[in-house]
């Protein structure tokens, strides 16, 4: 089934200029998709259409068949959980527990169900020990995990993460990657906006590249991020391992390598020859 369908989407904040121009996109259920592109390319504007925070100026967006123009943000949020970049933009409760329960209360879950889900998610995210602490007293990594937990607690079919790895250390990044993998195994659809190309290579099979309000590439990760023309337009750098592979091209190493293990394998082959 189609999770997200975007058709001829145009969006403008004011009459002067379109921020999104002719966006066409289909994401199937269970897919893991990364959206990359320079700052101001329209990535965040696009994901705000997925739960109806922004409504199309022209064209339409359908979430699990529901047209976002005809459904409220609250309705759509049940299916699409968006975790924004800065966790501090959403913390308000006195305790971590209440923070996590907030969405469940809004969606009208019964008390025992809330308790069950909060217990489960705090354990899942390794946050039980902070249960009665203020969200503001957590470390940066824990704050990020709490922000994700406060969305995942109601188990939306589609999860959207806006720059989840920005400002996170390697261990936190690993934990976020772990969470994404586990959710994916459960069949959830995952969309991530990021600048972290190594993160993209590790986790995503499909990459969408945006520039100046348009989608300039959409395809398998290997194909897209080894296309230097595209990568340059998105103002990114290819993965270092790919740069390395290209420098070793003379040895007969293919130029579309994107992971360390692939390169090791190729170099081993060269030695064996």
């Amino acid at each position: 089934m189609i999770a997200i369908e975007v058709k001829n989407l145009y969006f403008a904040y004011s009459a002067e200029e379109y921020v999104l121009k002719n966006i066409n996109l289909i994401v199937n259920e269970g897919e893991r998709v990364a959206i990359i592109g320079e700052n101001g390319a329209g990535k965040t504007t696009l994901i705000k259409h997925f739960n109806g925070l922004l409504k199309p100026t022209k064209g339409y967006v359908k979430i699990l068949g529901k047209d976002t123009r005809r459904h409220s943000v609250a309705e759509l949020s049940r299916h699409v959980g968006i975790v924004f970049q800065n966790p501090e933009h959403q913390f308000f409760a006195e305790t971590v527990e209440k923070e996590v329960a907030f969405a469940l209360e809004n969606f009208g879950y019964p008390k025992d169900e809330i308790e069950k889900r909060v217990n489960y998610i705090l354990k899942y995210f390794d946050l039980q020990k902070y249960r009665d602490k203020s969200p503001f007293n957590l470390s940066e990594g824990e704050k990020k995990r709490l922000a994700i937990a406060s969305i995942l607690v109601y188990d939306p079919e589609i999860l959207v993460l806006d720059e989840p790895t920005t400002g996170q250390d390697a261990i936190q990044k690993r934990k976020i990657a772990e969470i994404i993998k586990r959710l994916s195994e459960k069949g959830r659809t995952i969309i991530v906006v990021t600048h972290d190309i190594e993160f993209v290579v590790e986790l995503f099979d499909r990459v969408i590249v945006m520039a100046e309000g348009r989608i300039i590439a959409d395809g398998p990760t290997r194909e897209v991020i080894t296309n230097y023309e595209i990568i340059k337009r998105a103002r990114l750098l290819p993965p270092q391992i790919n740069i390395c592979a290209r420098l070793l091209e003379d040895l007969g190493i293919p130029s579309n390598i994107i992971t360390v293990s692939e390169l090791v394998e190729e170099i081993t082959k060269v030695y064996e020859r």
């Binding site: 409220s72 609250a74 501090e88 933009h89 959403q90 913390f91 907030f102 809004n106 969606f107």
Partner: protein
Amino acid sequence: MSVRIDLFKGFQFKYRETIVHKLDPRTKGLYVIICTIIALMYTSPIPILLTFITSIILVLLSRVTKEWIGTMKSIALLSIFIFIVNYFTAPYEKLNFAVTMTLRLLTLTSTFSVFFLTTSPEDFSLALLKLGVPYEYTLIFNMAIRFVPTLARDLQTVIDAQKSRGLELEKGNIMQRIRRMIPILVPLLVFEIKRSIMIAEALEARAFGALKNRTYYYEIRMKKIDWILSVIMVLTFVILIVLQLMNILPEWFYWRIPM
């Protein structure tokens, strides 16, 4: 909500190449002060109306008509309210009183609007500085203006984040709506306090307050035209006061609306 935003727009500066924009803020400040005194001093419509007309001339000269109309529109409702309240509460000369009070509001709004539409916040604080206000305070003023759009953006981000967690702002009665503001206001407040600490640190890292007397890269200067206009304004005002005291102003100047 939209009313207040329009009012704010009416005070937002945009640079244009006109004689009014180029005037020293102190000259324009003097104009605002004199207009304010005249508008508050008289209880008959003619002098206030004349003051109002001078502000319209300035609006036309400075080509900020669109923004000025925006401001005036935003106080239209308030003007009607003031008119009605004064009409029904005045003990005598009801119409005269109501008209004068409404004109007063319009004139004060108009003159202040012209001032802020043609004076950049930086120039305004430089003028305050010249008038002896300490730099710390003028900086606060400048930053307050500078951070209004930032605050608006932060507010939108917080609203988006909470709506994404199922918060519905439009539903329910007044008490419920007020309670729903908590998830919006708490993150915003915490975030802005943190931001202000960060700004303070960044300022200190750039040696803010290191010396008692700092220098300024850009300074405002009274030009010839500023002196001429200032002298004209002060003279007009003094003559008006003198004539007033000697009681030789023409009759029509004090004309009051009968009833």
